[in-house]
Symmetry: C2
Subunit: 372 residues, 2 copies
């Protein structure tokens, strides 16, 4: 499996006339090699030569054993210790991957993962280095999920739904956002998650008007809407769900925007099918809200791809006209945000199927009135 | 306070003849402005002009409200929406920070935080841009902690000690590393932590020979040593502790290396005082292990600074000859790792005082025999 993924990368590098790919320790590397670790401040990268041959891994000595044991594909390792530093190991890896004279070569690098530290180290090792953004190439490779990946995602979805069910049942007037957030975090672990896919968002009352609210000590009040946005990690893959609940009876405008967002969510999902674009799905969801008179208050894209990472291509947004293929997973999450007042978001995880789309999220979407 | 920190940055920029500083949304930005968020895939950065005037913040529209509410210093905001993209906002921010003709200017950028995405965007906005690594300049600024910072760190230390005490009391033969890891995570929250400072490490039996072990489904066995490395976050600041415990009676070599590491830890702490260098502290700890015959098995530096981040300067390692100043916080964490057999690490959080050093960590260091 992983060797096939590597072969597809090499073919893509060749078709783009690139000499190689420099990968950070991130989701792309995990996808290709099974290696999973967080980038620290010690130089760690993998060079994949377009010419073929094993990837060359520059790695701190103290990570070497674990990496070699965990890798699912053959790699050459160039380990370095804290005392010597990474320069010689990187030079040896460059020579092994690109040949003795690497001057002026062109590498694909991940613009949203590689840091200036790694770029400058590569520039020092490869005089005249040219770079291209590897993100689109790798995203195209990872966008369509295989059966094994979808199974992990479905489990991650089930886990977060179990956790959310548990959480919503605990909601009471007077609880703080942070207290509710802790319940979410713990419930995801208890339900079998390897962790959260991101720091959950619990946004209550006027805080719900901020799509990226930081959980606060605000206590829930009767009449609040509460947006809960959370996700679980399972088998390396993630889920991402948002539900908005009402603490006691909400006001009439809250009900009105809830119904609009609910219909926008349904319209977005209904527009999803093979060949539809992210732009078309966004337009379908957005039209409902615009026609309802709240267009200016839907201030973000309708959704985003997900898989090994919480945010992956495809963007479900105007301008993304690429036709979606079966196996592509993404969120549909329209929202309305009334500054200083309240907000609503309803988010599902969707997969394009052979003849349409399926919501992996099955959690009820009707407005729940809780703990009032 | 934060305005003073900003003034110190501006002075440092001027003394290094830099035109400005470009900050990612990270710990340095939090230190200067109180703004705290994770870098996503939407361009977010703050330009601090060496000429003075308010920092210029390029920010996705949906983060704008939260940032402006949270910032503790005056800033100018250049918000951009998903439909338009960040190019115009960045150009306006560059003009505001550096003047209408920014060609050939030199910015300090954070080599371990800024990504190629931000660098390429800045290069496009500033033809002929020169960059320098801002990390040493900012590290020098943040290395010495003030009383408020030390108070947050002390609380983070207390929290993780409470959590570790609880965790160690739960250890039983047959528990898996992952089960124990979950106990640590939950106990840190229960004890009042805002979260973990890093994914905790529970490394048992032969896994303890890997300093960066990934927690596994391995079940604890009688005679195992178990390394538990964990930390709590409080008030934005972190703690970091490691203790090694024995599940039932350990073998004679395990006892022997434990005693060596214990003595190395004490020697490292004893060498810490104003004017001592990271190299001197490393040498003091390492000498004990080398003289004990296990030098080749102490395969990492003796410690690292910490504060807003888990890994900050100073490095407690050969080659770092900079004298430490009172208020500097760092770990002392010698270890011995016998591949395929076992390992020991004992880690404390230390602060340089006016006339010596103090271990903020007070958790007992003697070998505990538990759950056998």
């Amino acid at each position: 499996m992983d060797q096939q993924r590597l072969e597809r990368v090499i073919q893509a590098l060749r078709s783009h006339r690139l000499d190689g790919l420099a990968l950070m320790p991130d989701a792309n590397l995990a996808y290709l090699s099974g290696l999973s670790f967080h980038p620290g401040k010690r130089l760690t990268l993998v060079l994949i030569p377009a010419a073929g041959g094993p990837p060359c891994c520059v790695i701190p000595a103290l990570e070497h054993g674990r990496a070699e044991a965990a890798a699912r594909i053959p790699m050459r390792y160039f380990a370095w210790g804290d005392a010597e530093g990474p320069t010689a190991a990187l030079a040896a890896a460059v020579a092994a991957a690109l040949g003795p004279d690497a001057r002026g070569r062109t590498l694909a690098v991940e613009h949203t993962a590689m840091r200036v530290m790694e770029l400058r180290a590569l520039e020092a090792a490869i005089p005249g280095l040219q770079t291209r953004d590897a993100t689109p190439l790798l995203a195209a490779l990872r966008m369509v999920k295989d059966a094994e990946e979808l199974a992990a995602i479905e489990r991650a979805v089930q886990i977060v739904e179990t956790a959310l069910q548990h959480t919503i049942a605990q909601i009471r007037v007077g609880m703080t956002e942070r207290a509710l957030s802790r319940i979410v975090s713990e419930a995801i672990i208890v339900a079998g998650g390897e962790g959260e896919s991101f720091e959950n968002i619990v946004a209550s009352g006027p805080n719900a008007a901020n799509p990226h609210h930081s959980n606060s000590e605000r206590a829930l009040q009767p009449g609040d809407l509460v947006i809960i946005d959370c996700g679980a990690r399972y088998g390396g893959y993630i889920s991402d769900i948002t539900r908005t609940v009402a603490v006691g009876e909400p006001g009439p405008e809250a009900r009105q925007i809830y119904d609009l967002v609910l219909r926008a969510n349904a319209a977005g999902r209904a527009a999803a099918r093979p060949g539809a674009s992210g732009a078309a799905i966004d337009a379908a969801a957005r039209a409902v809200i615009t026609q309802g008179g709240y267009g200016p208050y839907f201030i973000h894209r309708t959704g985003h791809g997900f898989g090994l990472e919480t945010h992956e291509p495809p963007n479900i947004v105007a301008g993304n006209d690429e036709p979606l293929r079966p196996g592509t997973t993404f969120t549909v999450e329209p929202g309305i945000y009334l500054p200083g007042v309240t907000g609503v978001r309803i988010e599902d995880d969707v997969v394009i199927t052979a003849d349409g789309a399926r919501s992996l999220t099955t959690f009820g979407r009707e407005l729940r009135i809780v703990g009032g």
